[in-house]
Each structure stands twice: as structure tokens, then as C-alpha cells.
């Protein structure tokens, strides 16, 4: 690629905080769209949001309507873009409607994981050493606990639903985020500017708000996007196993579970939701990577 490295223009003083924040956001976005991975990630995430929104108002067919007269149709037959399954469900409509569940889980579980991770990491890194060491042990123990097992336990107690899936995924990946964030916080805590703030008389709460959180924000954003990608995958897996979203709600994992019995007769029926899941996860992962590079001024100039 023959892109020119962007010139680094330092933010001029005398601008309002709001305008400076806008400028910073524009810098990051500009760096993001210069990367193919960033563009791909943005497009995938954008399509997911658009699909979810559109499916609320319109789908080509009712995704839940059964029609035995148009069962087992191949793609582009009878007006069905991606064909139908044994009950005549329009696959394209199901994919569109299923994206809502994927988006909801990705965002809710991702945010939950980020919040849990941040709280645990602060508890581990900003408290007296002995207490912090206990929290670190707790994080290590929780990391060893499989997310799927946690989801199954929750499903066994409360019944499988989107909410139990979100809770299990959020807690499961929250501890992973916690471990990364703890390291990051610990290294910020070692910096001279935190020491200088302490020497100026700032106490822990102020140091966390003014110094630690702003400086770990890029790492946290990247972790959030990775947790979202993992959440998509885990939600599909849980639903496929019958521990997630109920079969009456359209979802990609549910489609997989439904069609797997006919995989040799109608492989396409499994490929559509499988492809949707794979592309979404890939897109979120690439978005996370590009976002990390774009938010780091030292990496921003290079073109991927």
C-alpha cells in the first residue's frame, strides 16, 4: 500500500475540552479507517447493528412462520434468498432476526465483563498488598473455571435463557479482563506521575479517577472488543447446547442446533449461521486489534 504516513499534528492549546475530545476521536477514527482490519471490523459491526435494527421492523418472511409447502427450498427459490429448512422457515429472515440476539449478548456480556474486570483489577492492584494478593488468587481460581460449566450451572438453577448466558459469559470473561487490567493498573501505579500525585497529597480515590483510569482506557477498550467477540462465540455455543437462548427466539446458535441433524442432506443450512458467526467474531477481533493500534500514538502512523 502506498499510503503516506500521517503527519502528527499536536493538539493546539486553547481549545475547549469538548472540541479536543472530538479531535482526539477523529484522530483515532482516521487511523482506524486507514487499516484494512479496522475498516473490515467497522463494516461487520455496522452490518450487525443495521441487521438487528432492520429485523425489528421488517424481514422478508416471518422468521417463525412454518410453511410445509415451501420446505427444503434451495437458495433463490420461491423468493427465499437463502432457502428454507424442513419447516419452511426462511433462512435469511432467521439470520436477520438472530442478529438481535447476537448483538444483545455481545454488547451486554462485553460491558458486564469490562465492568467486572475493572472492579476486580482495581481491588487487586489499588488496595494494600495483602488484600490485593487475595484478590489475585481469586481471579486465578475463577479463570480456571470453564465458562461453559458456569453457564450450565446457571441454566440448571434458573433455566437456560439469554440472561443466564450473558451472566455466565460476563463473569467468565470478566476475570480474564481483570487479569490484563490488573497488570496494566499495577504498571501505571509504579509511574512517577502517580508518585508525584501522592507526594502532592492525592489519596487513592483521586489517583484512580484522575491518573489510573485515563491511562488504562486504551487497553480496556481493546479488552472490551475482544470480550464481545468471545461472547458471540460463547452465546452460539451455549444456545447450540441448549443452555442459552430459548429455541422459540431466533438465534444463530439455535439455527445451528436445529439444522445439524440434516447436515449431510442440506449442508448450506448449517453454513449460513456458521458463516455469520465466524465473520462476526473475525470482524470484532480485527476491530479490537485495529483499535489498539489506532489508540496508541506510537503505532498510529504505521499502515497495516
Amino acid at each position: 500500500m502506498s499510503h503516506r504516513a500521517p503527519e502528527y499534528v499536536p493538539a493546539r492549546p486553547r481549545r475547549s475540552a469538548w472540541r479536543r475530545r472530538q479531535a482526539a476521536l477523529r484522530t483515532v477514527l482516521a487511523a482506524l479507517v486507514r487499516r484494512r482490519s479496522g475498516v473490515f471490523g467497522l463494516v461487520v459491526f455496522g452490518l450487525l447493528v443495521v441487521a438487528g435494527l432492520v429485523s425489528l421492523a421488517w424481514t422478508p418472511f416471518d422468521p417463525e412462520a412454518t410453511d410445509v409447502h415451501s420446505a427444503w427450498l434451495l437458495p433463490l427459490h420461491g423468493g427465499h434468498l437463502l432457502g428454507t429448512d424442513r419447516l419452511g422457515h426462511d433462512q435469511f429472515s432467521q439470520l436477520l432476526a438472530g442478529s438481535r440476539e447476537t448483538l444483545l449478548t455481545a454488547v451486554a456480556a462485553g460491558v458486564l465483563a469490562a465492568v467486572i474486570g475493572l472492579v476486580l483489577a482495581l481491588a487487586a492492584a489499588m488496595t494494600p498488598r495483602r488484600f490485593g494478593a487475595v484478590v489475585v488468587q481469586l481471579i486465578d481460581i475463577l479463570i480456571a473455571f470453564p465458562v461453559l460449566l458456569l453457564a450450565m450451572i446457571l441454566a440448571a438453577v434458573y433455566g437456560g435463557s439469554t440472561v443466564t448466558a450473558i451472566a455466565a459469559i460476563g463473569v467468565g470473561y470478566g476475570v480474564v479482563v481483570a487479569r490484563v487490567a490488573r497488570g496494566e493498573i499495577a504498571s501505571v501505579r509504579q509511574t512517577d506521575y502517580v508518585l508525584a500525585a501522592q507526594a502532592a497529597g492525592a489519596r487513592t480515590g483521586r489517583i484512580v479517577r484522575k491518573h489510573v483510569l485515563p491511562n488504562i482506557a486504551p487497553t480496556l477498550i481493546v479488552q472490551l472488543s475482544l470480550a464481545m467477540a468471545l461472547a458471540v462465540l460463547a452465546e452460539a455455543a451455549l444456545t447450540y447446547l441448549g443452555y442459552g437462548t430459548s429455541p422459540s427466539v431466533p438465534s444463530w446458535g439455535g439455527m445451528l442446533a436445529e439444522q445439524q441433524a440434516y447436515i449431510s442432506a442440506r449442508p448450506l443450512l448449517v453454513i449460513w449461521p456458521g458463516l455469520a458467526i465466524a465473520i462476526t467474531v473475525l470482524g470484532l477481533n480485527l476491530l479490537g486489534d485495529a483499535l489498539r493500534d489506532a489508540s496508541d500514538p506510537r503505532l498510529r502512523g504505521e499502515v497495516a
Partner: protein, 264 residues
């Protein structure tokens, strides 16, 4: 009563003793230099004087600031001491400033903490401080981020931040080591002038005797965590008692007065 009184301070990391029975006093308004090679325990002594020894350090003895014992003091009780009675200037001016915070806010931080000033009043005060430490265009400079300033300007910010609440004692830990020579001289002059204006005491830490000679009245020589000599500056320069002090003097002379040999 001395402003800072360190008595028999011993600091250990595990089995390793890094400070051994250190005694050091600073009277109000006095300028004391603490000199020693790297690893001699200078910076640790400085951190002890402001109550910021690392968690894993085991400290014994006594560190008193204006009569308050710092060893074993709870975090919340430090609030009236750090930044208000004792303040500190750090060695690396870039790493000692938060890269994401405007320098004006950082100068104003102690004022907001201790004087309870409003945002706008603290900013006005920060601009005034920026002027006093000789930052160009103070009203504009306070809106800059640390990476937009030069090394000398950053250190001026550090000094402004430390002196904001007019502390009785200013600790300067190698404040000129990271700067080039011409800027060093300016910063030393500035420190000396401001400390004299405010009547603050100064504890100046360095490994460089040539620098020390410009700012202090009395010198404490530290070697391997032990105080080997304490004397007025004149005596240290002209009549050093300890072998280690003589060695420091030799090194300082060699660096300051002899040009490097030119081979053809």
C-alpha cells in the same frame, strides 16, 4: 525543633539493608544537600521524608516532619503533610507528569486538594505559578500537555506543582540530572530563588558535587546506605574528612575543569 528530623532510619528490603542508621536534620529555611553515588540510598531517604517508602520496605527509626512522626502514619493522616508541608520535585520531568492531563491542572492539583479552591480559581493560581517559574505565555502554556513542552519547561511545571502550597520543605531528587547543562543552570537558579523567596527549606539530592555547590549550605554524604560525613559546604569542598567524599570531589573536578583529551 527541626523541620525534618530523621533519626536512626533503617530500611530493609527482605534481608537486604539499604539504609543503615541514617541521621539527617533540616532546619526551617535551611538548604541541605544529600550526595552519594546511585544506589547509595539517596532517593529512598527522600521518599521516607515524604512518607512514600515502597510497601515492601521495612522501616525502623524515626522520621519527623514538624513534630509529626511519619513512620506508621495512616494514609489519610498524610493529607495535611504531603504537598502542604513537604513537597517534592522529581528527576524525570516527563515521567513525573501525567501524559493525559493538561499541565495547568497538574499545577493546580495540590491547590485543589489542600486549599479547596474552585476549578477557575485554581486555574488562575496555576497561571500565576506558571509565570513565577518562568514558563512562556503562562495563560496558554497551562493548557498544554506535557509532551508539547521542552524538558526544561516540564521541570518548571514540576517545580510550580511542588511549590503551589508554599511547603515548609521542598525535596528535590536529582531535579537537573535529566536536563542539558544550560537548562540545568537555569533550573538551579530558579529553585534557589523561589526557595529563598518563600522561606522554604530545601533538601537537594544529587550525585553531582558541582551542582550541589551552587545551591546548598550544608552537605550530607551518603555511601552504601550510611551517612559518612556531614559538614558545611565550605568544609566539604576544602577539607573533606572521609575518603569517599574526597573521591566524589576528585570526580567532580575531573568532570568540571578538565577538557577531554584529544588524540590525533
Amino acid at each position: 525543633m527541626s523541620l525534618l528530623e530523621i533519626t536512626d532510619l533503617t530500611v530493609r528490603f527482605g534481608a537486604k539493608t539499604v539504609l543503615d542508621q541514617v541521621n539527617l536534620t533540616v532546619e526551617p529555611g535551611e538548604r541541605v544537600g544529600l550526595i552519594g553515588e546511585s544506589g547509595s540510598g539517596k532517593s529512598l531517604t527522600a521518599l521516607a521524608a515524604i512518607g512514600l517508602l515502597p510497601d515492601e520496605a521495612a522501616a525502623g527509626g524515626s522520621v519527623q516532619v514538624a513534630g509529626t512522626e511519619l513512620l506508621g502514619l495512616r494514609d489519610r493522616d498524610f493529607t495535611g503533610i504531603r504537598g502542604e508541608q513537604v513537597a517534592m520535585v522529581f528527576q524525570e520531568p516527563l515521567s513525573a507528569l501525567n501524559p493525559l492531563m493538561r499541565v495547568g491542572k497538574q499545577i493546580a492539583e495540590p491547590l485543589r486538594l489542600h486549599r479547596g479552591l474552585s476549578r477557575s480559581k485554581a486555574l488562575a493560581e496555576a497561571i500565576d505559578l506558571a509565570r513565577r517559574v518562568g514558563l512562556p505565555d503562562p495563560a496558554d502554556t497551562v493548557r498544554a500537555y506535557p509532551h508539547q513542552l521542552s524538558g526544561g519547561q516540564r521541570q518548571r511545571v514540576g517545580i510550580a506543582m511542588a511549590l503551589a502550597c508554599k511547603p515548609g520543605l521542598l525535596i528535590a531528587d536529582e531535579p537537573t540530572t535529566a536536563l542539558d547543562v544550560t537548562v540545568q543552570a537555569e533550573i538551579l537558579d530558579l529553585l534557589g530563588k523561589l526557595v529563598a523567596d518563600q522561606g522554604s527549606a530545601l533538601l537537594f539530592i544529587t550525585h553531582d558535587l558541582a551542582v550541589l555547590a551552587k545551591v546548598v549550605e550544608r552537605v550530607v554524604v551518603l555511601s552504601n546506605g550510611e551517612v559518612v560525613e556531614t559538614a558545611p559546604l565550605e568544609d566539604i569542598l576544602h577539607d573533606p574528612q572521609h575518603e569517599y567524599t574526597r573521591e566524589l570531589l576528585r570526580v567532580a573536578r575531573a568532570e568540571t575543569f578538565l577538557p577531554p583529551e584529544v588524540t590525533t
